[in-house]
Every structure is written in C-alpha cells, then in structure tokens.
Subunit: 390 residues, 2 copies
Amino acid sequence: MYATQADFVGGTDVLSNSRVESYIRANSFERPTLVLDTDRVADRFHALRAGLGQAAIHYAVKANPAREVIERLVGLGCHFDAASRGEIELCLGLGAAPHQISFGNTVKRVADIAFAHRAGVTLFAADAEEELDKIAEHAPGAEVYIRVLVTASQADWPLSRKFGCAPAKVAPLMARAVALGLRPAGLSFHVGSQTRRADMWVPVLNEVAEIWHAARAEGYDLDLLNIGGGFPAYYGEDVQPPALYAAEVMRLVTERFGAVPRVMAEPGRGMVAEAGAIAAEVMLVSQKSDDDTYRWVYLDIGKFSGLAETMDEAIRYQFATDRDHEATGPCILAGPSCDSADVLYEKRPVQLPVGLRSGDKVIIRNCGAYTSSYSSVGFNGFPPLDVVVI
Amino acid sequence: MYATQADFVGGTDVLSNSRVESYIRANSFERPTLVLDTDRVADRFHALRAGLGQAAIHYAVKANPAREVIERLVGLGCHFDAASRGEIELCLGLGAAPHQISFGNTVKRVADIAFAHRAGVTLFAADAEEELDKIAEHAPGAEVYIRVLVTASQADWPLSRKFGCAPAKVAPLMARAVALGLRPAGLSFHVGSQTRRADMWVPVLNEVAEIWHAARAEGYDLDLLNIGGGFPAYYGEDVQPPALYAAEVMRLVTERFGAVPRVMAEPGRGMVAEAGAIAAEVMLVSQKSDDDTYRWVYLDIGKFSGLAETMDEAIRYQFATDRDHEATGPCILAGPSCDSADVLYEKRPVQLPVGLRSGDKVIIRNCGAYTSSYSSVGFNGFPPLDVVVI
C-alpha cells in the first residue's frame, strides 16, 4: 500500500492486505466508518522526516484531528499547523508544547489570537494589513510569516486565490509588521493540495524564490521558509514515494533559496490519507431507464457525510468490493441524502462489478484525510462519519 | 419580511424590524448562530395551507430538523417527509403520528425500512426495482409512490438526475410493486428547489400529467399525487407570496390532473428559510494587491459550517450590517477555514460597505433552511453552527 523508496506506488494487492482493509472485511458496521491505523501514520512521518531532513514537520491538523493521530505524532516529536483555537487546544491537551504549534490560518478570530498568545504560541501567519494589526494587538511581539499568493500550481485539489498576498505587498506588509513591533521571520506559500510529483513544485518555487530574494534585498533578514503542504496520497494515479518526493522537494528548495536556517513543511493529506479506509455499503443499484448505459450506485456515504472532496470530482477515491473478480461496468456514484447535489462521480463514471447490489460492502481506499471532520452534523438525519482507530 | 397576499415580496425594511434581526442586533454571539422564530414558521404553514387547500403538507424535515420547529408543526397538524430513520424518530418523538410521516427518500437503508414499518409508517417512495424489493421484504404490504425524473426544471438550486425513473419505467415498476404485494398509490416528482414563480411549474406538470394519465390508461388506479417541494424563499429576487403561489400551483395541478383524491406537498425551504437569520462576524477585510478592484471579506461562517448552499453560488444570501448607510463596493466573500474551496461568492461579488472591518457583525438573511444540518462536525476545529430559537 505504501510507496517504497524504490519506485512509484501502484499495486492494490498491498492495499488489500493492509490491516485497515482486513479489519473492514472482518467486521460489520452499522454506519459508514473510517478505520484508521496509526502505525501507518508513524511510518509516513518517518518517511517524510527522512526526506525533509532538517525541515520541521508541522502536521496540518485539519486533515484529520483524531485524538489518536495527534497523540501518536506528539510522541514522535512532530510539530503542528493549527487553523483555530479548537485545534490548538487539541494539540496542547495531547502533549504538544506551544513552540511546536504554528497558527497557520491567515484569517484568525481575535479571541483565538489572544488565546494562542496566552498559551505560549509565538508563530502566526498573515497576508493582510488588518491581520497584522490584530496579531500586534493580541499577541504583541509575535513572529509572523507572510503568505504569498502563487499562480503556477499543478495540484489536483484546486487552489483558489483565497490565501496569500500579491508579491508587491510582501515588503509593505513586512514594514508594517516591524512598525507594529512584530518580527517578520519569513514567507509561506502553498503549492496546492495533492501535487503528485516533486517536479511540479518547480514553477511555484521559482515564483516564491524571486519574492524571497527581493525581500532580503530590501533588508529583511528572513530566516524562515514555510513550504506548506501539497504532499500527495495515492488515489489511483502514480505518486512518488514520500521520502523520495520530500528529498527531491528539499533539493529544489535548496537550489533556489540556499541554506535557509529554518524550513517548515505542513503535510496533512500526505501524512494521513493512506492510513485510513472507509467501510461503506451499497444502498441501491438502479437504472433510470432500461436502455441506460450507466447504472446508478447509491452508497451510504456521500458529499455531506465525509466525501466532500469529491466536489467537482477533484479527488477520485478508489473502491474495493467482494466482487472485484467479476466483470465491471460504468456507474454513476451518489450519496444517500435527498440532496440532488449529493452525487460523487458522474462526469467520469466509476467501473464497478456488474453484480453489485444493495447490502454489499464497499471499501473506499486511502480516506484518512479530509473526511471525518468534513462530515455534517446530521444532514438528512444521518449521523456523522464514525471513526475507529485500530 | 413575509410576502403579503397582495403582491411580490421585496422590502428589506420589514426584515430589519423582524424579531430575529432585532434579537441579533441586541445580543452578542461567541460563534456563528442561527436564530429562529417559530412564529414565522407557523405563519408560513397557515399561508401554505390556505393556498394548498385539501393537499396534505408534509414538511421536508431535512430543511431544518430543529426540535422546536418540528414540535410547532406537529401542534399545527402538519405531516412530515422523512429522509432517514433519524428523522422518523425525531418526528415520532415529538408527537407526530406514524400515518403523518412519509418515508420519501428513494434510497433507503434496509434497517431503516424495517424500523419505519415496525413504527407504523406505511407510505414509501421508490424509483427502482431493487428499492421495491427492499420495501416488499421489510415493509410488506406498504403503499408506494413512484418518483419520476423530470427534465424541465427552472429552479435556482440545481436538480440532478439523481432521483426518479424515466417515464417508460413507471408502468413496469408499478407492475412489479403489485407482484410484490405492495400498493402502487401514485406518483411523485420534484420541480426543483427554489422555483421562484408558480408559472415555472407548467412544463414539469405537463410532463408528469402525461405519465399520470398513461399509467391510469394502463389500469393503475392512482389516487396519490405527491407534488414535492420547490416552494421558494426570498433571497433578493422577487418571489410570489406563499398563499398565492400555492393556490396557483394547485390550480395548475387540477387543470392537468383533474380531481386527485390525495395530493401531498413537501415544502422545506418554503416553510422555514425566512424564519431564521444567521448572526455572523467579519474576521478580515483585505486586498490581495493595492490595485485590486475587489476587497476580500472573510466571515466566521463558510461553506463547511452552514453555508453549503453557496456551492456554485446557487443560493445568494442577503447581508445586513450596521454600516448599510455607507457607500458600498464589490467584495469577494469567503469562509474562515483553511480550505481554498471555502469561498462563498466570487464569480458574482457582493456589494458591502466600504468601511466594513474585522469584528463587524453581519446578519445573513433568510437562512432558516439547509444551514444548521449541513454544518460540519468541526472542520478546521470550528464548532458546528449554533442554533437559538426565540
């Protein structure tokens, strides 16, 4: 299931024999359940550390905030990237030290900034004047890094223009930070979630390096480069093994930035996606009319109960059933809610066994990231995605 | 705030003076909060009943499952359209009788069908052979209505092909229902959520009437027509007042179907949307670069914490602030999460006051439907949307 150092990931045989899939096959579930194996998280942490070398790994808590995942990573000495007070409290409560936590959301509630400051968190992200003002008032003297907007992403999960400032604003924001008594330590960016190959980082790194060197030329003594996330998971298309991928990214970084005193990376999906699978069930198989090419397959999990990343069919999960030896045919896949928008894959249908029917178990592979916490509180009266850690 | 019988809805003055908005102005909130006024739900129920006449009103619970809303509607004699066991239990627990509840999801968990049958629910939806098999096995002898797929919707919230069978399948499904010992009582369809004018029902009603008369010609003694939802709420574009709208729909129905013994309607949005508003807060106002035309405004609520219906910018909420007397400028509106897809309105920016800044209160109008239950359990560590009933 995991990428090896030697070559690209691929085979589903390894996946089938994973602890998570064996557990799903051996048990029955009353409702859709995410089964997580924290040993896989630990393996991935070690692989990324091997590749990233001196860079500090700040796990992006939002990818999967399960207590067992955070506890395991705390034990391994991992650092954390938090999006809110809730995530900071979670990490602190499970043993992370304040200096191991960065407050990486560029849009922070004022009360959350004050809380983080009192708790001892000293590193904050910003991309706008007003955010610097908020940080200066509620976390005086803090270190900040400025997030820049990059344009050249080749990632699978779309990046919008939501985060980051234009290159021309970096120096004015740093000047303002200094004037406000903050310490502008460096830059951050995000190459885009699920960037499948290290060489896809090149255009983005080129953009950011130019901004970095310009800021240094203007006299800002930058010592922190936050390279963000983008570390991929296997969803059926080849991805490089994590240690190799991370080492290659670091090589590209050093080539462009030289010896940066502090590098941070924020893997989320790349840390946890492959550590989990969802146990789901077929609720109905139908044809809209007798001459339809496609069958409609309705699962007990959908867009509003954990599979939000199927939005625009961006992330394409892999499926395993007990009928995978049968012939397959194209299916449109939908969720269980009465919401017409709760359709997972329609533009590019999924091949599933012809004998598939109501009651069949379906394993949705590599679902450890961005599923459980995206789940709705109870849309259509369906309970949120259950999580079991084995 | 409400449409009157006399003319189209429009003015925001009435909204500003509503109990809900007065309550939001007079209080402060620690997190985004949906404030609901069940008197408004009751008013709307009476208006719809006035227009719908003999038709049974089955409130679509998924639109807002707040206990206080269900309790109030039970007290008024309303019936319910449930999507799952969870919603059936909710209604029964608050005093609804089993015969007042229809199980309208065409994709039902087998255990949920069995539960509903034991609880005394006798009316089920289906659009496929396998679903009829499941119902026959777990709710023997039940009444079913067949949902048909319509193509001519002019609604604001997109209908997909997810629900319903092609016209040619209606008779075969009815034959199968009879063979399985079920009673095929009639048809259902959905004109599409947020269908703003009654005349927009015409093409869909024409389609369904043809199917209805064909099934009767084949010897099926249909006595139940479920006209579904589609009843609109005011989001800034003119909508007809509810009693007038409902009466006009019933006139169009009678014109095409004649005197149908049992008509059911399933308003969801049309029953509760205008009964609630969300108290939100500005977290950041910024410009990506100094020459940007648009400001970015980040709220403390977004796509994953209640405003899921902003998907593809389909539902366009209205906003009120304390600075509405100021000049306005175009803003891109985004949510608070670190998710790049959490942008509410970008293609069609929103006009907001030029002085708007972090900490300002924002009222999001007519948010009583499809918000609280869509909210995620805690994406990015943000708690789910809070609900207060006044």
